[in-house]
Symmetry: C2
Subunit: 213 residues, 2 copies
């Protein structure tokens, strides 16, 4: 694996983190998810928990962050501070070599930088996602789980749209879109690994991924 | 291959027919595309060329067909005559066993019948599609090719929406969505074959595809 950067966008509860981690493990390349939060927090000076929620969540924390950095003389929009730092961190990871990067508009970040990548979107039906979320959080309140899924997806949607100008989850923004509920995590992992290996092998000879895609 | 019916929806010029044919060849199962037109024409009594264009094209031929079947005492909407017959033909193909069916809302037809399937959508960027269309038609007029792609896609979109109530090309209607321009036909074929084999193997033990999807 010499060339392929894999970005994974995902619906909440669709297993994007787990599948991405497995893909990185099978390919023997770094996996970045929370590391982005950690390094962004260190570089920006914001508390990790704020970067964590703000990183993809516009609706909930914008006002909180705005309050905290009200005194900032460098930026008028605190949301953009963290986004800009996060973007730089993602770009650095991508420039270090093949890896798997989860969420946070990573696909658009490396596209804009002219770096080739395999951009994947992972989704699932509400029932599969709800069971997964219930298992992750140890909760069983259906209404609570439905609200959480709706809020998380709406936030990621808003964040992606704000910083890319594109529609989050629109198949045409990605090279591969898989339904983890119908196909299962094992198969999704296998398909992404297959695609990454094939693209990596062809990258030197004849790039299959367009930088402007 | 005992269980898997593969349906392929595709943008015009994205290679859905070629990729679907390769998938069927590798899996050793029947491939249905023009056969649907042929059998629908025989069963409905309409000329093949009309069924061909009408099969997925609402915008162009609705009026023509309406004129031809104005005397029909069985149906008030000629578009529905051919759709209903086509639907029955697709269902019969699916009930005969594993196969690859291209276009014509086949995914929704077998979903409604409670038959499991691997539903795939194949798309590509305009440049890759235009080059493909130019090669298929032996034309090089960019404006003509752009108009043809727009008209074909708009027609398929309208046809799919009319008969399924869903958005054509929306990743969430399919189990697997692949960008044939970025990934290439060989890789797309490989990924679909991999998915079909895995689902087929797991179908007896524990179905991965939900009938209501």
């Amino acid at each position: 694996m010499k060339n392929c950067i894999i970005t994974i966008s995902r619906e909440y509860g669709a297993g994007g983190h787990s599948i991405g981690k497995r893909v990185a493990g099978e390919l023997g390349i770094p996996f970045y998810d929370r590391d982005i939060v950690k390094q962004t927090a260190e570089a920006s000076g914001y508390p990790p928990e704020l970067v964590e929620t703000e990183g993809e969540d516009i609706s909930r924390t914008d006002s909180i962050i705005r309050g905290i950095v009200a005194s900032s003389v460098f930026y008028s929009d605190s949301q953009d501070v963290i986004h800009d730092v996060q973007q730089a961190i993602i770009l650095r990871f991508a420039q270090q070599g093949p890896c798997v990067i989860v969420g946070r508009c990573a696909d658009e970040v490396i596209r804009k930088a002219g770096i080739d990548g395999l951009h994947v979107f992972i989704y699932a039906d509400d029932v599969h996602r709800a069971m997964r979320v219930s298992e992750m959080l140890g909760r069983s309140n259906a209404t609570e789980i439905q609200r959480l899924m709706s809020r998380k997806d709406a936030s990621r949607h808003a964040y992606y749209n704000r910083y890319t100008g594109k529609k989050w989850g629109d198949g045409r923004n990605y090279h591969l879109t898989v339904d983890s509920g119908a196909l299962g995590y094992d198969l999704c992992t296998k398909l992404i690994v297959e695609a990454a290996k094939a693209l990596d092998a062809s990258a030197d000879a004849k790039p299959k991924l367009k930088k402007d895609k």
